[in-house]
Amino acid sequence: MARVLLFGALRDLAGWREQIFEGVSDLDGLRSHIARLYPDLAEAISGPGVQFAVDKALVRGNVSLSAQTEIAFLPPMSGG
C-alpha cells in the first residue's frame, strides 16, 4: 500500500491531493499504475524538476515500497 501525496501544480492537474494505491511494491510499479489511471499526471511527474520523496526523504531511481509508505511527488520548488 502506498499513500501518494501531490503538491503544487501536480495537485491541481490531478484534482486530488492524496490517494492510497494498493498492490504496488516499488516506485516504478506505482508509476505504471498511475500511468494507467492518470496519464496526464504520469506525464507531469516524468517532467523536468519533479522530485520524489519516500517517507519524507528524497530518492532517485526505483526504490521498493514497504507497507504504509508515503510517497510525495514534488514539482519544482518555488521558495517562500
Binding site: L5, F7, G8, A9, R11, D12, A53, K56, L58, A72, L74, P75, P76, M77, S78, G79, G80
Partner: protein, 153 residues
C-alpha cells in the same frame, strides 16, 4: 535555533522581541520580514503550500549551515503557509552573533536560500485567475553570491 511553519498570522515585532530577550549575550541581532505585496492589485492573495515534516527539516539543515558558517549564536525562522493577504508577513528571519557582519550575512544567506530553494509551492491569486509561481532568475542569481554552496538539495 528554531523554525516554525504555520498557517496563522504572526507579529514580526513580537517575534523579534522574544528572540532578542532570549539571547542577552548577543553582540548584534538582525531581522528580516518578508511581506506579501499587492503588486498594483495584481495579487489579491498568495497561497503557499509546504510539505510538513519535510519542509521544516530542510530549513533546520539550512539553519545549521548558516550557524556554523557565520558563527551565529541564535537563529529564528517563521514561515507562513496557507492563504496570505497583501500586507501580511510571509517570512521572518532573525540572526544573532557576536559581531554585526556575521548577523547581517547570516540573515542574507538564509533569505537567499529560503526564497529560491526551500520546499514551498506558491500560487498567486489575482483578478485574472490563479497561477503557480516559480523562482525568478534574480532569485537564483542571488544564490551564486554564496559560492561555497552546501545547502540541502
Amino acid at each position: 535555533m528554531s523554525v516554525t511553519v504555520q498557517t496563522g498570522v504572526f507579529d514580526a515585532g513580537a517575534a523579534l522581541s522574544a528572540f532578542t530577550q532570549a539571547l542577552p549575550d548577543a553582540g548584534g541581532v538582525v531581522s528580516f520580514t518578508g511581506i506579501a505585496r499587492m503588486d498594483n492589485g495584481k495579487t489579491q492573495m498568495l497561497e503557499l503550500e509546504a510539505y510538513l515534516g519535510f519542509t521544516e527539516p530542510w530549513i533546520e539543515t539550512l539553519i545549521e549551515e548558516a550557524r556554523t558558517r557565520f558563527s551565529l549564536s541564535g537563529v529564528r525562522v517563521i514561515h507562513r503557509v496557507g492563504s496570505i493577504l497583501p500586507g501580511e508577513a510571509i517570512v521572518f528571519v532573525a540572526t544573532a552573533a557576536a559581531h554585526r557582519r556575521q548577523a547581517f550575512e547570516g540573515a542574507d544567506f538564509l533569505m537567499d536560500h529560503l526564497k529560491s530553494r526551500a520546499p514551498f509551492w506558491k500560487k498567486e491569486h489575482g483578478p485574472d485567475g490563479a497561477r503557480w509561481i516559480e523562482p525568478r532568475q534574480a532569485d537564483y542569481q542571488d544564490l551564486t553570491r554564496w559560492t561555497r554552496d552546501q545547502t540541502p538539495k
